[in-house]
Symmetry: D2
Subunit: 390 residues, 4 copies
Amino acid sequence: LNKHKIFNDPVYGFVNVPYEIIYDLIEHPYFQRLRYIKQLGLTHLVYPGALHTRFHHALGALHLTTQALEILSQKGIEISSEEKKAVSIAILLHDIGHGPFSHALENCLIPNISHEQISLEMMEVLNEEFKGELSLAIQIFKNVYPRKFLHSLISGQLDMDRMDYLNRDSFYTGVSEGVIGFDRILKMLIVHNDALMIEEKGVYYHKSVLSAELMLIQILNRAKHLAAQDIDLFCTPALSYFLYNNISIDEIKNNRHHLNTFAALDDSDIHTSIKQWQFHSDEILSKLCRMIIQRKLYKVEIQSQAFDPKAIASKTETLQIPNGKEPYFNFLGSISNTAYDLSTGSINILLKNQRTIDITEASDNLNLHSLSSKVVKQYWAYLPMRYTSI
Amino acid sequence: LNKHKIFNDPVYGFVNVPYEIIYDLIEHPYFQRLRYIKQLGLTHLVYPGALHTRFHHALGALHLTTQALEILSQKGIEISSEEKKAVSIAILLHDIGHGPFSHALENCLIPNISHEQISLEMMEVLNEEFKGELSLAIQIFKNVYPRKFLHSLISGQLDMDRMDYLNRDSFYTGVSEGVIGFDRILKMLIVHNDALMIEEKGVYYHKSVLSAELMLIQILNRAKHLAAQDIDLFCTPALSYFLYNNISIDEIKNNRHHLNTFAALDDSDIHTSIKQWQFHSDEILSKLCRMIIQRKLYKVEIQSQAFDPKAIASKTETLQIPNGKEPYFNFLGSISNTAYDLSTGSINILLKNQRTIDITEASDNLNLHSLSSKVVKQYWAYLPMRYTSI
Amino acid sequence: LNKHKIFNDPVYGFVNVPYEIIYDLIEHPYFQRLRYIKQLGLTHLVYPGALHTRFHHALGALHLTTQALEILSQKGIEISSEEKKAVSIAILLHDIGHGPFSHALENCLIPNISHEQISLEMMEVLNEEFKGELSLAIQIFKNVYPRKFLHSLISGQLDMDRMDYLNRDSFYTGVSEGVIGFDRILKMLIVHNDALMIEEKGVYYHKSVLSAELMLIQILNRAKHLAAQDIDLFCTPALSYFLYNNISIDEIKNNRHHLNTFAALDDSDIHTSIKQWQFHSDEILSKLCRMIIQRKLYKVEIQSQAFDPKAIASKTETLQIPNGKEPYFNFLGSISNTAYDLSTGSINILLKNQRTIDITEASDNLNLHSLSSKVVKQYWAYLPMRYTSI
Amino acid sequence: LNKHKIFNDPVYGFVNVPYEIIYDLIEHPYFQRLRYIKQLGLTHLVYPGALHTRFHHALGALHLTTQALEILSQKGIEISSEEKKAVSIAILLHDIGHGPFSHALENCLIPNISHEQISLEMMEVLNEEFKGELSLAIQIFKNVYPRKFLHSLISGQLDMDRMDYLNRDSFYTGVSEGVIGFDRILKMLIVHNDALMIEEKGVYYHKSVLSAELMLIQILNRAKHLAAQDIDLFCTPALSYFLYNNISIDEIKNNRHHLNTFAALDDSDIHTSIKQWQFHSDEILSKLCRMIIQRKLYKVEIQSQAFDPKAIASKTETLQIPNGKEPYFNFLGSISNTAYDLSTGSINILLKNQRTIDITEASDNLNLHSLSSKVVKQYWAYLPMRYTSI
């Protein structure tokens, strides 16, 4: 065997061809013709870069499928090597029935026949040529195979077909709005009750950032509390100035020295202090500092209703926090996703007739969507249990 | 003058410093300290790449502002060079009052004082040092300058601050969901009644793709109509086969030859024919072919209610289309944005407690948003007037 | 076990932590401190983006190593899972001994002690803490383990340390000259006689492009040969014009029709003809056309001396090519890498003293290197044996 | 005027069409046909992404030319608006004479006629149609216009044609080795004696990184010198430990405490100290610290021979450095570009016949070039004059 099993994809980089039969199917004239069928029909007349073809899309979807199968296997979902090969074949050939200009001429050149029907016919022909090696792939493609999540990888809300074309179309048109974090979504895939879905941890992932920042605030609060009692704290002169004094905005306005001392501060003043405060005799300060330096972040719980303080109290008891010191370790609060706070103004579109409309009324708002997300309020509780992440 | 006026930004590439005073402000210790203040506080504990600083963000926002001012000038919005310089100074210094760890410690290290207040104090100090050269910048920053759209570039729904940080935070965290088409939005900016907004044309831009595809379909329809009358048409043997015969799915299933002839087709069979059909004696065919080859695409009108056929008819009269042939040239229809058709299934999240919820219920759905856009139905009419685009 | 085993890298995307112990080592304070040690010392004063740290570099080098081990395994190099884990540990910790500002202060803060020595000491301490689990990693790190290629992955001409930092430094400084095709190089790695090297096929990869183009030329030559004998050939009218007539530049200048006919040609005229010519009665034409449509490209042999025609002839005999028709199937020739042909001019640098020097004399020409590659002449022979590639 | 003057390029983002006539030329059928002529002929058979066309390349080269003209103007090179328009036209049309499959079939379809000759003929025809508006563009294209550097932008060692195709071909093939820092090169362009060349400053740009690092070393040296005299220095306990003690590698090996104290150090220990040392009573220490915090970096001089110490001494006299303290402020030394130090090993290629050869012998080494740069030794002197950069 001396076949090249690698190809170069501008979207994903170097990519492997995972099976011998995949290589042979790629070589087949049915598949080679996809080189000359543009993925997006005439889109290139408006976006000149959109010259990519069904050939490249099929290989890209294959690549994502290979990765998804690998990830699911690593998570303990049992998928036999026969099933893996069959899914790979099915995704490779899912669009093989497309004709000239893909969707643009579908049902026009040959009326009343969809590309999926022709794909299926071609798969049956190839199955004969390859002596039955495509039988399982065809079952999965037709969704008659019992393990339904395998079909979902080819066609469904989280399928690899869409995952590839959203990326690929963005790449070649230069319209970045379609970019999705395919890599991230792939890593979060899981199978539950034979259905493909997304793991929770991925969804709440960035909450641990807030956890770290809440700890930092408590550290400074505690340090100022100690400073107010004239307890000694290692720190740079500039930081010392603000820990041991309370400066008002008027004082800042009237005395240049305050402002210049503030201007001597940056992240490193805080960081060097926290490193040293790990060994301070005040238990609360040192505990919080050790937690943040060693990145033992709080565990977060999130819900759409406010937390019941009693429920929190009961958890805290088990955590051996010095009496009365819970406020340094438990945090309750709420956040909203505030990329664009619509209450403070809106984005308007200037129509050609010089009328203006709000962006949310514009009919084609999909592409500007990230500028106008709706606000969701959430309540959270951070508790001092270890939350692991790198 | 021998100052370097260029810097290198991984996000935007090489970038110019537009004014002498901007260079001098960058050199000032107040500004240089921003090198050591992380943009995203402790986010790097979760996303290790998020080490970028307020220094880099301020330079990036300056770069976008320089571009926005240039684009607005090119569109005929009069902005004096003094105003341009002032806006540039204001955006450069908009975050200069941030202290250690940016927002994470705001209102904590110095209680009750926001970073904007300190920014303003520092700008006043710098204004003294630079002998009043920042006065206009300060007016714009405080939004007391009459031309309000200039302030909107610094703070508002379309400001350059947000435009930069959405891009920059995505770049450094590696989370692509925040990527916006800043380049595209910048190019669409316009000022109307002293307010910053977005031009309509940008919003409807990709509709002309659909226009081209509708024309292509009419060409094939006309060609098949002529073929049915045994009129001669230049084309490849494989295309000829499907123009002059009507093949059903059953025939395809039963006769391998049909499928193999279909497999001989690709985009180039259609394209070479259309090039030749420009000179065909049938006026409708040749007119449609010339339009698409020369990219004289239809003009599209879009509205959220269905079109009134009479209104269409009245427009058509003025266009000298052969009597009874309007259906080849006017198209009415509707589309929905169908990235994910929620009617056919939903995306589920698997919670840690093994319960599943729909993605639209997940509290942190922002990042997966592109997978679940709401469906908007629109009605369109394409009319044979020239729609220009490259 | 409920540990996050994934992190987000702006350079490579989402990345897995491959072993439990790797996760625990990342959590160790020795390793966490690398978060605060910049990879490039003070480089950020000149390239503001260069804020990345040893922490991220170590994780990146780990990621590339995981991939390299996987690729070598797939090629049949036996590497035990113990060896894989040990190499992963060794690359993760290879820079753990770096102190503040990395190389900038090496041998200064603690004179005469290199960071490698401290790395080794820390690895020994960690080995105690982890009860000997790092013993094999330390052997490989010290290059005392018999299988030397494993050490080469950590330190050598093709090591993953360098592979990561060349990429990463480019990414964060925004200087694209350092970008290497790491993905490509990884895929080409092979082990031979216990040494890490690069497979030949990768090196000669793009030669098959030339192969395809030579075949295309022969097809047109053959078609013109047949046209000269008035043999019928399916093609578009415009292509026919140039196949059946010989047009000179003077004729083009004097008769607008020639130019306009030429302007009617594009790739698709050739492509549709070749598809049809696969079935032409001329054996040479049809054979060449089938070869290119089915992508059975020539095999290429390359050497730095000219080929001996007799050697070629002897190979050809075995290939059953019609007598006297070899010139259509065998090609001899030579090429040079001609990115910039220095014989036609040079690139000059304008010095501050207004003197000019050639770029190859400039002391710091590394970054402009791609503009002045030296010319290498090669001789090639293409022979009609199948050369596989996608 | 209601023409779209913008298009979307995956390589450069949104791009403007600078002149009305450029728009009209793009609309001309001669130019529109370039949409169907692949830039790289049959390369897509090996690199499936290489489907980009002459149309897109011409627009890209136009974009770079617009930028280059703007940059040269900003540097004071006088270029009239007529000249700018003419160069823009000439670069847009430089490849308009290409036929099917570009270079692959050049001289084959129409023997003995180059694409440049046809480009010129088409430009003459267009000049008639546009009533002489292309006359100056044609002069520049033919290099008969007196200002030769304008032709160099279209054809020469630094032309925008090559600048675009190196980028574009890399982008679409996915082979990153061809990526050049086009943005950087554009910014460095200058005209001298009517010839296009590169400014020196760009070439030596990154030397100021070394400057900063040399200053940092001197700061630590001075601090240790003061510590040896028991002079008090603000610093963190961990840094203090290494400033006031000399620790050997044996001590580190034998006493865990040394190693753990070292492990408490990171960049911030040094940075907070340097900020404070700006105000130390030792003049040398405080001067060096102020220089680095305010980024007043040394000026560097570089030459290929060693420096004469007397010449350095004479420069130093004028700089009022305390007697005998020059070693803290003047640095002499040498560096080599050491991406890959060939003295410590080489990169081997494993041939199919199992022979190995050095990468520098491989005939096709262009693509792996960055792995084997030749070593250039340079001598440098850093002197305490201000070197400005951001």
